[in-house]
């Protein structure tokens, strides 16, 4: 460690560089002028100027989730800081590593209701993994190193550092980070290695299982590429069926025969039935979210549950498990595989064959099927074409989504072979996430094909970022599945509120093609299935940011569906099914996304 005298602003820039930061997303303001001045005078740290601070956070999330690195945000005090709150909560819920630097009014004015003062550490205390208000410039370097360390280790999450203007201006000493930019922290020590006895217990359960199932979540992706490889290895080695959560897609190859598709509210029939009927559930890096479990009292009633999670508070929070293993997925799986091999452990193949027979039987329901049409574009068909034509480009393709029906169809119909190619707002369900998130992904992967799947409602929550895409020539392809509805709301109203479409019709929308053109971007439209391929190809061929207005069947619903409050085996497969259950009265309305 060495120390050096610099201004607060210079310390920040140096600390970020020492943490390996190459880009940040932000927007300046009064109290940050000294820092932006220092930024102006240097090279090496790129700054992407967004149009709204919420978008800066989502862009940083996209950057982080597609790279595995920490995303960095820089915003001014007061409104700049408060505009980040939705993004921070989103990152907290989905365990995305971020550092958000906020400017603050000078220390002497804090507490005086100064111009653009907001108690942002108070506001974000509950929605950040940790936050800091730096009052002494000499603490700045240390706090920043700690912030990056806390953000990326353990269960990742957003960390906010609030920095008063006088701290930016004053001179202080900078401490370079320790080796591997690790920080020796007094109280924060995440556990990465799993308990060996528990791992052996898990192996024992798996060996004896007759109907085992892997339930993989975003924790595998967060743990890193090695974790995904080990997970895939374990699934292949044992021959056990595997389902993934919305956040886990890509942790195991989507085209593999052992993959049952996504589970949960809009998961496949076979995945949900397997969740319900399995006798050993192996949860790796998932958190028994209510959109996965459905009714807790009917959740997988006959299974023994193994749960691997780096966050001890995830254990027994929603579902009481039999074998908890606290640790990092990669570490735990490495050891599990090691012991499995050393023991020459075997699954019960006879039972497993029977189990597979049952699963393959469920598969014949083909629960993702839809009625195709040559008159109107079915959203599922649009996604298939977006997917297949993306494959033809041969480019590494990254998908982000907004929130709503289109998001669920995207999760069902796109196919993820690799981790970090799928960025969606899972925990918070933030409309307005997908488009700016794609911007961050494209910054991180300039040569990648970055596709945002949007709804017409969600897109309008952060569409101002077309300007940013133009400014930096980020050729994001945004496909709006335009049903002129807040579609997911409409679906629930149709199913649970007597088709009274209260405030979910959004016919008064801009001409998205002209809108794109107003920004200088490429705007395209497909009105019917015949136009679709051509439009998608044009979009992929263009090096401009592209907004594609795809007019889809406005009344299409997402199936399968487990209504909230129902059990996995009460899954509704299609419209015929949904009516019968409504008449039966077993399905109650619940709380929407």
């Amino acid at each position: 460690m060495s120390t050096k005298e610099m201004t607060g602003s210079e310390i920040i820039i140096q600390a970020l560089k020492d943490q390996g930061v190459d880009v940040m997303f932000g927007l300046p303001g009064g109290v940050l002028l000294p820092l932006y001045d220092a930024l102006f005078k240097q090279n090496g740290l790129r700054h992407i100027l967004v149009k709204h601070e919420q978008a800066a956070v989502h862009a940083a999330e996209g950057y982080a989730r597609s790279t595995g690195k920490v995303g960095t945000v820089l915003v001014t005090s007061g409104p700049g800081a408060t505009n980040t709150v939705t993004g921070l909560v989103d990152a907290m819920m989905d365990s995305v590593p971020l550092v958000c630097l906020t400017g603050q009014v000078p220390s002497s004015l804090i507490g005086n209701d100064a111009f653009q003062e907001a108690d942002i550490t108070g506001i974000t205390r509950g929605c950040t993994k940790h936050n800091y208000l730096v009052k002494d410039v000499n603490d700045l370097g240390r706090v920043l190193h700690e912030a990056y360390y806390v953000a990326r280790t353990g269960r990742p999450g957003p960390v906010l550092v609030d920095i008063p203007k006088d701290v930016l201006l004053s001179l202080g000493t900078y401490q370079t980070p320790g080796k591997n930019s690790a920080v020796e922290h007094k109280s924060y020590k995440p556990q990465v290695k799993g308990d060996t006895a528990a791992i052996k217990e898990a192996i024992d359960l798996i060996k004896k299982a007759k109907k085992p199932l892997f339930y993989g979540g975003g924790g595998i992706v967060n743990s890193g590429d090695a974790a995904c490889t080990l997970f895939t290895q374990l699934v292949k080695m044992t021959g056990i069926p595997c389902s993934l959560t919305l956040m886990g897609l890509g942790a195991f190859p989507g085209s593999d025969d052992q993959f049952l598709g996504m589970m949960g509210m809009h998961g496949t029939y076979e995945a949900n039935m397997a969740m319900h009927d399995c006798d050993v559930m192996i949860n790796i890096g998932a958190r028994f979210d209510d959109r996965v479990t459905g009714a807790l009292d009917k959740f997988s009633p006959d299974s023994k549950k193994i749960h691997v999670d780096i966050d001890p508070s995830s254990i027994n929070k929603n579902v009481v498990v039999d074998v908890p293993i606290i640790g990092d997925v990669a570490h735990v799986l490495e050891e599990l595989i090691k012991h499995w091999k050393a023991d020459q452990a075997q699954v019960n193949t006879k039972s497993l064959d029977k189990w597979w027979k049952q699963i393959n039987d469920w598969r014949t329901k083909d629960s993702l099927k839809y009625t195709s049409s040559n008159k109107v574009i079915k959203p599922q068909y649009a996604l298939e074409r977006i997917r297949d034509l993306a494959l033809e480009t041969g480019k590494d393709t990254f998908y982000t989504t907004e929130v709503g029906q289109h998001q669920m169809w995207a999760a069902q119909h796109l196919c993820f072979e690799k981790p970090k190619r799928w960025m969606t707002s899972g925990g918070l369900g933030t409309m307005g996430y997908g488009f700016p998130s794609a911007m961050g992904v494209q910054v991180a992967h300039p040569d990648g094909l970055v596709v945002a799947i949007a709804g017409d409602g969600s897109f309008q929550m952060n569409l101002q970022e077309i300007a940013t895409l133009m400014a930096y020539r980020l050729p994001v392809k945004c496909f709006i599945l335009n049903n002129k509805f807040l579609g997911m709301v409409r679906q629930w109203q149709e199913m649970f509120h007597g088709e009274r479409y209260s405030e979910s019709v959004i016919e008064d929308q801009p001409d998205f093609v002209k809108l794109a053109e107003a920004y200088g971007a490429l705007g395209l439209r497909a009105n019917n299935p015949g136009e679709l391929d051509d439009v998608i190809k044009q979009a992929y061929a263009s090096d401009l940011p592209t907004i594609v207005d795809i007019r889809t069947d406005p009344e299409e619903n997402v199936f399968p569906m487990i209504p909230s409050g129902a059990a996995h085996n009460e899954i509704i497969l299609g419209p015929e099914d949904s009516e019968s259950s409504e008449n039966g009265g077993s399905v109650s309305s619940g709380v929407l996304v």
């Binding site: 550490t121 108070g122 205390r125 509950g126 993994k129 940790h130 936050n131 208000l133 806390v150 922290h185 007094k186 109280s187 924060y188 966050d311 001890p312 508070s313 254990i315 027994n316 929070k317 009481v320």
Partner: protein, 172 residues
């Protein structure tokens, strides 16, 4: 374990050692209010000036699962160094102090003093028509004392909340 045991509401005393930095108490309290946990009593003070540590003693209640969650969630806070459940991690002692103001004259004054004597409460302020008692003990004893003072002219109470520590030679 029967279903009933699972849903029983238990009362636990949890000791939390934290770095004494700004906002740490707000983090702990925010955790309880944000996740809907109960705080029956909470005390906090710096206990190690050199290491800059504070100890928070929280009395909380909930089902077994909720109590386990509370401890795990507390442990997740970055400035929290250690969380110990004094109710189940071994034997412990608990104490609380209260200052109890009683106003009255004649027989009531005499009776108040008599009861104070039984409870070994000390008079730390007195006027012609009032006393302030200082009473120590388990929360239950303090409760009982206050209850007995009610008919004798109880006008005000200040309680510290529970502090607790494990028995034996081990530190936290």
């Amino acid at each position: 374990m029967t279903n009933n045991d699972k849903d029983d509401i238990l009362r636990h005393t949890v000791s939390v050692l934290v770095d004494n930095e700004s906002g740490v108490l707000a983090r702990v309290i925010g955790l309880f209010s944000g996740r809907g946990y109960n705080i029956e009593s909470l005390t906090v003070a710096e206990t190690d000036h050199v290491e800059n540590l504070s100890k928070i003693t929280i009395v909380t209640s909930g089902t077994r699962q909720v109590i386990e969650q509370i401890k795990a969630q507390l442990d997740r806070l970055v400035p929290v160094r250690k969380v110990v459940d004094l109710t189940i991690d071994g034997p412990s002692v608990e104490r609380e102090m209260a200052l109890v103001k009683v106003a009255g004259e004649g027989e009531h004054r005499v009776e108040a003093l008599r009861i104070a004597d039984i409870f070994r409460a000390r008079v730390i302020d007195s006027s012609n028509s009032s006393f302030v008692f200082e009473v120590f003990g388990k929360a239950g004893k303090v409760d009982a004392f206050i209850k007995l003072m009610e008919p004798l002219g109880l006008v005000d109470v200040s309680r510290t909340g529970v502090v607790a520590i494990s028995r034996g030679a081990e530190g936290l």
